[in-house]
């Protein structure tokens, strides 16, 4: 009963936030399209396709601390809190995927002007794969956000930010100083995202699934020792 109530509590909040986001983005795209129609111009805002992938980790970060406190006060165990949070974030990601797929089907200019996946991987891939890409991609970024939020609560913001900055610095140092590293990195990333020689269309989906799983694992491990005051 408690787990069900927890998922409902979190999912409603997250899906509502995602819905408001979709309305705002939809309004902007509609306004841009209208301007294009009235001016007889060809206007699009394709970069808005990245925004859901930024929204989800922000939602995970902004809601995690408050939710974990509330749910533990309601008597849920730490694993139950993580399970509820993952399920709720998953619901929001599925919602965004559905909205994306609906736009591909219903909005004539969507596939070639707004859908990040279809524009990158080909218009023939269809709404089902677009839905999966959006849902899994958002799940991956929210998994990363969830891991960051859990580590932040466990170790403190300063330590986590410094650790991330150090990792980025080490990475950049290697890329700039080791011969061929930058090319190798670019090549690997391209392959993982399904581009380049030998890459499969399944690669990005697998990448997103692995990142999601890692994020959830890190969050679960961090939450086990969290103290709630």
């Amino acid at each position: 009963m408690k787990l069900k109530a927890a998922i409902r509590y979190q999912a409603v909040e997250l899906v509502q936030s995602a819905a408001v986001f979709c309305l705002i983005i939809g309004a902007i795209i509609a306004a841009v399209a209208l301007i294009g129609l009235t001016k007889g111009a060809y206007l699009s805002v394709p970069n808005m396709g990245f925004l859901p992938y930024f929204l989800m980790p922000l939602l995970a970060l902004s809601t995690f601390q408050g939710d974990i406190r509330f749910l533990m006060q309601m008597g849920l165990t730490r694993p139950q809190v993580i399970a509820s949070t993952v399920a709720s974030l998953g619901a929001a990601c599925l919602f965004l995927g559905l909205v994306e797929a609906a736009c591909v089907i219903l909005v004539s200019f969507w596939p070639q002007m707004q859908s990040l996946y279809l524009m990158s991987y080909g218009l023939s891939n269809g709404p089902a794969l677009d839905f999966l890409f959006m849902a899994l991609g958002c799940a991956a970024t929210s998994g990363a956000g969830l891991a960051f939020a859990a580590l932040q609560m466990r170790f403190g913001t300063r330590r986590v930010v410094l650790a991330c900055a150090a990792l980025v610095l080490v990475g950049l140092t290697i890329l700039t100083n080791v011969e061929g590293a930058a090319w190798a990195f670019a090549g690997t990333m391209s392959w993982l995202l399904g581009f380049g020689e030998g890459a499969s269309l399944a690669n990005p989906f697998l990448l997103f699934a692995v990142v999601t799983a890692l994020g959830v694992l890190v969050a679960w491990a961090a939450v086990r020792r969290i103290e709630v005051r």
């Binding site: 009963m1 109530a5 927890a6 309601m74 008597g75």
Partner: protein, 196 residues
């Protein structure tokens, strides 16, 4: 989150939660159910938690400093509602408090704990009869206390009050000395001060 949202959520998380009772109790305490929980004062935050606790259908209720931040009127109301709740639905209520005298008439058993050690454990009546106070002129009080188990003596301007364990010694008492049942708060303070 608003107080009425919190009451609704409690009903979803706890099967035995009585939302109607919670709203009735909130009204009794003048708790605004439309207020945001984060914007409540310390006292009303405590009241909100007490309202939720009293509306739960739990066999055991553990209350840690339940009247923290409450004014006298609300404290009185809480004790009254707690008694009514207990009479309606007997359950085990454990209250951790420093305000012993306020709860002494409500509770069946009292345990005095100091630094993790149990100093005394008895019924409220037994605890009250475990000691007494003697007051009068300082010299008379000192004479009375000779050789007895004295917890402490407070002296001020030639008048003294001594706190002793046990029962009054009728042979030592005289017209210039008054005895009274021990104040539980004082007993607690003196026991913990002594570090026994």
């Amino acid at each position: 989150m608003h107080v009425d949202d919190l009451i609704e959520q409690m009903g979803r998380f706890h099967e035995g939660f009585d939302a109607k009772r919670a709203k009735r109790l909130a009204k009794a305490f003048d708790l605004d159910v439309k207020a945001k929980t984060g914007a409540l004062s310390t006292g009303y935050r405590t009241i909100c938690q007490l309202v939720l606790a009293l509306s739960l259908d739990a066999d055991y209720l553990l209350l840690d400093e339940p009247v923290l931040g409450l004014d006298a009127a609300h404290r009185e109301l809480f004790y009254q509602l707690l008694m009514e709740d207990y009479l309606e639905r007997p359950r085990t209520v454990v209250i951790a408090t420093h305000l012993i005298e306020e709860v002494a008439n409500l509770v069946e058993r009292v345990t005095i704990i100091d630094e993790g050690r149990v100093l005394m454990q008895a019924s409220a009546d037994e605890l009250r009869s475990s000691g007494y106070s003697v007051s009068g002129r300082a010299a008379d009080v000192r004479a009375y206390c000779e050789g007895l188990d004295v917890l402490d003596v407070d002296e001020l301007g030639g008048v003294a009050v001594a706190y002793l364990l046990g029962t009054p010694d009728a042979e030592r008492l005289n017209d210039r000395l008054d005895t009274a049942p021990v104040n539980l708060q004082k007993l607690f303070v003196k026991l913990t001060e002594k570090g026994e």
